[in-house]
Symmetry: C2
Subunit: 136 residues, 2 copies
């Protein structure tokens, strides 16, 4: 086990460097499981920020699946994926963006607060990630 004391950075999660493409990231079910925990936390934090009170919530699969389609990322994945699997793809990509150091938690909250409706801002977040990640 290495020391986190002065060295916590994206490279502490070496598996991040092993993905070969956006589709590779989006199809990783283990990354999606970590992403599910991350997205629920970021969503709860964004709600708490907007409402100025602590809120814990879970983001529904439909919102993420719709955001994935509207962002144009859906078509990079195989056909006949159900909404749950589409939501997984979005969750995997969002946590990848954070683990890889592409977007900080602060920047994500900023994006999630950039549109009037929080639901709309997941598409914007996914588009920024897709445009910014260079391993396509």
């Amino acid at each position: 086990m290495h020391d986190l004391n002065s060295s916590f950075k994206p490279s502490d999660f070496p598996f991040v460097d092993e993905y070969l493409s956006l589709a590779d990231i989006m199809m990783d079910r283990d990354l999606a499981a970590l992403g599910d925990a991350f997205v629920n936390f970021v969503y709860s934090l964004a709600l708490s920020f907007r409402k100025s009170r602590p809120i814990g919530s879970k983001l529904d699969n439909n919102t993420l699946a719709s955001a994935l389609r509207e962002s144009g990322l859906r078509k990079m994945l195989p056909p006949r994926m159900d909404r749950h699997t589409q939501a997984n793809a979005a969750e995997a990509l969002i946590v990848y963006a954070w683990l890889s150091g592409f977007l900080s938690l602060r920047k994500m909250l900023q994006i999630l607060n950039s549109s009037e409706k929080l639901e709309d801002s997941w598409r914007i977040l996914l588009q920024k990630i897709a445009e910014g990640i260079k391993i396509l």
Copy 2:
């Protein structure tokens, strides 16, 4: 809605300053709901760090309730609280420590990786928070 661009800091969550005591923090069910999302994310991240692969998981109430008792914090709360409510108290306190800026995510991961068994490290984390927070 204020701008997060250059100003994300604990004071962006002004409700953090409204708690009067550790018991006040631990009894807030809304803070516990946000804490639940936070703790599941931190737990998943700590597991991913230990195993060097992405893992998403939920921390069970028994682990948190035991950690609360072993840390000495349980006795600050009313008697006859079930394990779920005890776990809530721990979750509220852990997210408070992060929101208030007392412990960074990096520092929490460091603490969670300081003992051989991840289960044991929740007690250490709770004790550090209880000792460090000055609003007792």
